[in-house]
Homo-oligomer: 332 residues x 4
């Protein structure tokens, strides 16, 4: 048996604590240090000897892999230092607050040929993984539209970016990923209503390279929490709920419904509806297993820095569209 990978973690906010919990139980991985300048030992769920005051202390302790779960504006400085030190790194999403910073992070890892990847956790949600496989197998026939809704009460943990960077990047990344395509253009409207300095609501339409129409409704102002992705195509539609990790298929109607009371609510025809039995490991566990496997030179699925950059570029295009009131093309 080989020695476990020595893992480091930077950041101990809500997501950081989740990373710490999972890293401590991951087979073949040993959490050796956590950087969190703000948290004293008494406020932490971790043993005191794991806590380190800064990144350099962590590097001196020696790590084979590192997770960065700090506020977005700090990603560039921390990630670049880790790239310089040759440490394979998983950076929480979004990769950066703007395309230029994301580009610099990607370049830093590429120049040194160090593994870098992005924590777009929805890719590890069992519902979306099943959805992507089924679309790739042509189960829906031609795809017409991807519509997502991501709404809910505001998590006070976020301060440095708006809802486009924080939440809509989930939707941008998953939409491109499940369809295997990319965004050609977007048009978005935003609102800043909660008194914070960043937008907290966005409604967007887009067009993918494969001529698929997209719709995204994202906010952290609603008391009604939803995490829904609907893909409509030639044979029916898939609805993925990433909260419960459910994937449900609504087949196009194959029967007629002459009973008018029913037809009022179900339409002129009904097909079968199936919620698939899906194996449901915790997505963060799957994400970190994949990262560790990539560090060991195996070939698992990780989200590349270029993919993370592309998502930041689409998010940036949404914000520009909202500012200018014009549709924005996403230049490749």
């Amino acid at each position: 048996m080989t020695a476990p990978l020595r893992a480091g973690l930077v950041g101990l906010g809500m997501m950081g604590r989740n990373h710490a919990r999972v890293l401590r139980t991951l087979p073949g991985v040993q959490l050796v240090g956590v950087v969190d300048p703000d948290a004293g030992p008494e406020s932490s769920p971790l043993d005191a000897d794991l806590l380190l005051p800064d990144l350099e202390s962590l590097l001196r302790r020696g790590v084979d892999m590192c997770v960065v779960a700090t506020p977005t504006v700090t990603h560039e400085a921390i990630a670049t230092r880790l790239a310089e030190a040759g440490v394979p790194t998983l950076i929480e999403k979004p990769l950066a607050g703007d395309p230029a910073a994301a580009e610099r992070i990607a370049a830093a890892f590429e120049q040194r040929q160090v593994l870098g990847c992005v924590g777009h956790i929805e890719r590890y949600n069992p519902a979306l993984q099943s959805l992507r496989t089924r679309l790739a197998h042509g189960e829906l026939g031609e795809v017409y539209q991807v519509a997502t809704r991501r709404q809910g009460p505001f998590p006070s943990r976020i301060a440095d970016i708006g809802v486009v960077g924080d939440l809509a990047t989930h939707d941008i990344d998953l939409t491109a990923w499940v369809t295997g395509s990319f965004y050609r253009s977007v048009s978005a409207s935003t609102a800043t209503r909660s008194g914070r300095s960043h937008e907290d609501l966005v409604s967007a339409v887009g067009v993918l390279g494969i001529d698929v129409v997209t719709s995204h409704l994202v906010n952290w102002l609603s008391p009604l929490k939803e995490r829904i992705t609907t893909v409509t195509g030639e044979r029916g539609c898939f609805v993925a709920d990433t909260l419960m990790a459910d994937l449900t298929y609504y087949e196009n109607g194959v029967t007629t419904a002459p009973w008018s009371a029913v037809a009022t609510f179900r339409g002129v025809s009904e097909g079968s509806v199936i919620r698939y039995a899906i194996r449901k490991p915790e997505p963060l566990m799957t994400e970190l297993e994949a990262f560790a496997a990539a560090v060991r030179g195996e070939d698992p699925h990780v989200v590349t820095l270029r993919e993370g950059l592309e998502t930041v570029r689409v998010a940036d295009a949404m914000l520009r569209s909202a500012r200018t009131g014009a549709t924005v093309e996403v230049k490749p």
Copy 2:
């Protein structure tokens, strides 16, 4: 007791038959003739002596009010003739297939000072009527966003227009009406996938005059039938389902939910949720009662031709946006 109003009907398709059913039971109204050149007596649920071969026969029989429920492309010719004849008329939605035709219809009735109105039936849905009243009373505080979803299997009855004119005009009209505002701009993407000559899917974002963001997801390609309007604002959100005529209020969270299993699904806080008890008369009955009351010179709520024209203009802007790939301003 006064004599009943003599009502005529032009068109005996699906909506026409519904109008006929309701006009025959409406107090104070007598259905005296139905024009349907295509339908022979054997295919009609009506008595043979009600059926007439053309509009002129109906006008000769004498009517106090008339409903036009024919294909959209025929509205202008029929409505203009009724205006000339001085007959108060309710025209099914959409008022016309393009703004110019809608403008000519409106002008025809205005010049002769004849009552004309449009059958935007969602305004008579009990859920939306309650929603509008509650918004007007400020129950939601400031309004941030109106998002509608109108999806379902294709009703083969429609041939002459696409889903923007047929279905999205419901959403455009109701959004402007419940908020008491108007569209400043729209950006839309459409798809034409079913082999018909018109679009059958549209995803649109818009901005209202009162700075409210809108989102509309409309198609007749989905096996999952939905008729949902969500209004999000300062104090929570309203969800109206016009199929079951339900209005539900999700209040902003007032409690914290430290039980983590629940918080995963409901969010960091939960408020109360209330589905209101609403009196639910059939919307078409309410619409035709309102039309008859307007004919009698009372002052009920009807949808004016100018309002119907405005909706056609927004629909036209959506189609232009989809063609050009640019955001379109809706000039007043």
Copy 3:
């Protein structure tokens, strides 16, 4: 083409009007007379020449088949007269208010070898028809339990019997029918709370001949309307909703769910869930088609008078159990 069957109807309450509506549209059937002593022509949706003051007038007019939709206490007198006259008859459920009367009705038709059947309409609900077929094909493996819930607001139309006779007879009949078994014993508690003279709530457990456990929760006191039948067996469970005519299959778990947040709500394992595409004609249409086919000597599915009697006997056993506080065996 043969001459249409001449159909009569006795009773023009809520169910009677539904029978009249369907009998007028049924191919091969002509509604020739409706007996309703109470209703004057002005209150009826039917042409005046269809209305007759009494059963003898209907018999003189000549009928090939007759539907009896009068209050339960009047079934025996009317049905017996129709049997004497040799008229094939469908009697609304319950067949009678007590087993003795039901026995006399059955005997009257059997002695004269006249077709008699009972309007247990749930047997014609597409969801239950599909359920029965699937159980007969062994899709669930061994059946363990049948549980029904039939609750809702009180329909003021019922005055002469309680909720056991009026609503629970649906559940008794369908439970025996979908399982192909019979009741061995029942134990029930009832409550009479609404100020009427009959019970308006019943909770019952029973045992079928095939050792299946049953549970029935039936009332007309609840604002929450439900019509649910759940059959649990070796491979999972079926849930039939006869309002929307849906049949949904919950397969036993085939996956493990190590994501604890999900497992809290779904259990230690999850299987697939499928709502079947079912053709959904209106049940009353199917019921009357079957009756007409039986009258023509074809061999369709009708509910025999003996089956209707058996249901009345189980309902009577429930009422006796509730009165005595003891479990009651249902003697065959």
Copy 4:
């Protein structure tokens, strides 16, 4: 500040681990020892120095309070020893496998005037706590019926008792508690289908002292997980879902619904429906806080041993009813 209470735990199965997790975070409480003869240190989530081989070791270490979370058949021996040692004890539900053993446990604590209580955790579910308060305040008027459904896939952790003792005791206890009443009689049918030696399905009806009818549907054979309590009364019904800790009130109909399509599904009238905003701490946290408070001599809500005994007696009556096929009175 006073010294923390020294807490012990006996049993480290699924519930035991939950108790350990909560006891370690409870303010004012220090977990000082856990007895689990089976688990070696490597299989435990706890520090090795907490683990003890037997109860005597725990007593020697010195504890102010103890939780017993071992298989039911072992409760009597362990609880009696703790009573002898004068240790305030919370015993997991059910208190014992039969009334005689439960009686002996209760007597052991009473003779020595030591605090004993039972872990009927549903009493600490926020939904049921809110329900009980609302019933006590008369919000439902007169109560007519309490119906519970507790179904789901089998948790392999249970081996020594059947579903009546394991799961139905939740329903028995909560029904008596929310209504403030007691069981007069029960009639039950059970089935033993999974190849285990104990029953795994029970359907029961009962009558409470206050003339309320009860219905319980409990099994661990169904893939459809439910934890539902419905209380129907004079003004409507309450539905509590203890999985999501939701309490929803269906008010009796106050409106008429002349739109027939809606009335088919909702009934002749509709009232408002409200899901209350409820503060939702984790029930096990609340339970152990209450136990600790009782140990400190404060006066919180704990489930007394006499209440736990009463629940075991009703469960025993259910099993006798199922064996004999007769209704069983529950002698006080």
